[in-house]
Amino acid sequence: MAEVVVTGFGVRTAFGRGADAIRRGVFGGVPSFAPTTRFDTGPYRTPNAATTGSDKPDSQRDVLGDCADEAVEMAGFTARDDTAVLVGTSGDFATLTRFWRGEAGVDVADTVPAHLVDLLAARIGAAGQRLAFTNACVASASAIIHACGLIASGRLESAVCGGAYLVEEEVFAKFDSGRALSRDGVVRPFSVDRSGMLLGDGAAVVVLESASAARRRGARPLATVAGWGAASDAFHVSRPHPQGAGLAAAAQRALRRAGDPDGLLVDYVNAHGTATKFNDPAETQGLHEVFGTRADQVPVSSTKSTTGHLLEAAGIVEFVITLLALTDGVLPPTANFTEADPSCDLDYVPNTARDADVRRALNVNAAFGGFNTALVLERP
């Protein structure tokens, strides 16, 4: 099996563009939530989200394109004929709203997820397989897993993976109506007084290559993707399995592939950590299943406490954050942490970043319908 390495990334969150914005915001433990002015929040229970502050945000096509430009520049990468482009997106919902409002000049094709992938492929000159992954909060993690399989098996040597979600009213209204959004404008994963999630702007693109292809062109790997896995709960269409069965199974698949079935080499876990009633205890139980008696020694944090929930972009942005934890030797904190929920009993890196020699890290994500993904990143 070919070794899969990351050679470049581009990222954008409500903190701004690039890694330094993430270092300041996510690793600084500074939440980015504020009342959004992107649409009239009067009808809703909360006005808060993690947005870039612009009333007219860029489109998904532009944000993905900007991230791709940064990623290929960092990697010094030129797309090849077989380079796959795999993106987590459900299409541009802001465009959908504008279409039904009857606005002029709407790029209605941007509502089709796969079209955004084609645009990205054309921008970077990639001519290989092009797929949009539409499975909600694990969409971009699924794209990375797909790419890793293609590269590891030798089917191709490189893939450009992405994911994007920009806060808009369609999804905001539904989460608000479902009472999933935090009532007080603060996201407190794993804390006893948590009251829900908030949405956030997010996009990222990463360049993945076989280690041999990267070596041939003299590229420096930023990290190795040592393992990946996916599994389902087979439990409920919207709630996670209360023992985190699917999340544990996905992580165990990834760790077996990484040659570390018991997770003994894992120094950090970037959790899904939505701060919802059902997710956090279930995820905690799942991580107990993965790490056994060592569970309380493995630092776990939810960076959604600063970025918000990035939906289709969550997996890939948190993949980049995990990569930065490896390369910088710093664990990002769970911000806004107050007092642990009695059913959440791990080391959540509360409120303050922590220096650590992180050689291997696990990044897990989950989505409604019982979808779970896991990725193991390793420092070169």
Partner: protein, 181 residues
């Protein structure tokens, strides 16, 4: 392999033919070929997705009506795949994807890739498209895509004994015409 152009209602799923269609073809396939759910994956593909539910939610929003969170959940194929995974005890990977062209080949290639994993024995591949609405018609026109003539779904259970796909690609109809092993 099964196909359908309509399906009976599925409990808890409202408004759209998308999820009943997916359930109908997947249910028939999995009932006809029972297997170990722990060693089964599900892959669903649709270029446009559930436009009925997505666009209903959008028009309700614009009309100032209270948003129904069910419409978010059901517009995403996670919901019906989660429903099927519970019904058949499937704990392998669940994937949903979209491709602009040659969706049938994309689905079969994805199944082929998943079967590299020794922990899996079979993959249920489901393709589905709806005829759509004004928005999807406008998008198809802009993209040069042919609009589906009718709502349609196809399911195909793939294992390691399934013959490799023919070169030249498959649309979903061609996928349905594919010889079974």
């Amino acid at each position: 392999m099964t196909t359908a152009t309509s399906g009976p209602p599925v409990s808890g799923f409202i408004e759209s033919e998308f999820n009943p269609l997916v359930h109908e073809v997947a249910h028939r396939c999995l009932l006809e070929h029972p297997g170990d759910g722990a060693r089964t994956a599900l892959v669903l593909g649709s270029t446009i997705g559930d436009s009925t539910t997505t666009d209903l939610a959008s028009t309700l929003l614009i009309g100032g009506q209270v948003s129904n969170p069910l419409l978010f959940m059901q517009a995403t194929s996670n919901a019906i795949l989660g429903f099927l995974s519970k019904e058949f005890g499937i704990t392998g990977p669940l994937v949903s994807l979209s491709a602009m062209t040659d969706l049938g080949s994309a689905l079969l290639d994805t199944a082929d890739l998943l079967l590299d994993d020794e922990e899996l024995d079979r993959v249920l591949v489901v393709g589905v498209e709806l005829t759509g609405n004004d928005r999807t018609a406008a998008a198809c026109l802009e993209l040069g895509l042919e609009r589906p003539g009718e709502d349609f779904a196809v399911a195909l259970l793939v294992d390691r004994d399934t013959p490799p796909r023919q070169p030249g690609g498959h649309d979903l109809r061609r996928l349905a015409e594919r010889p079974t092993p």
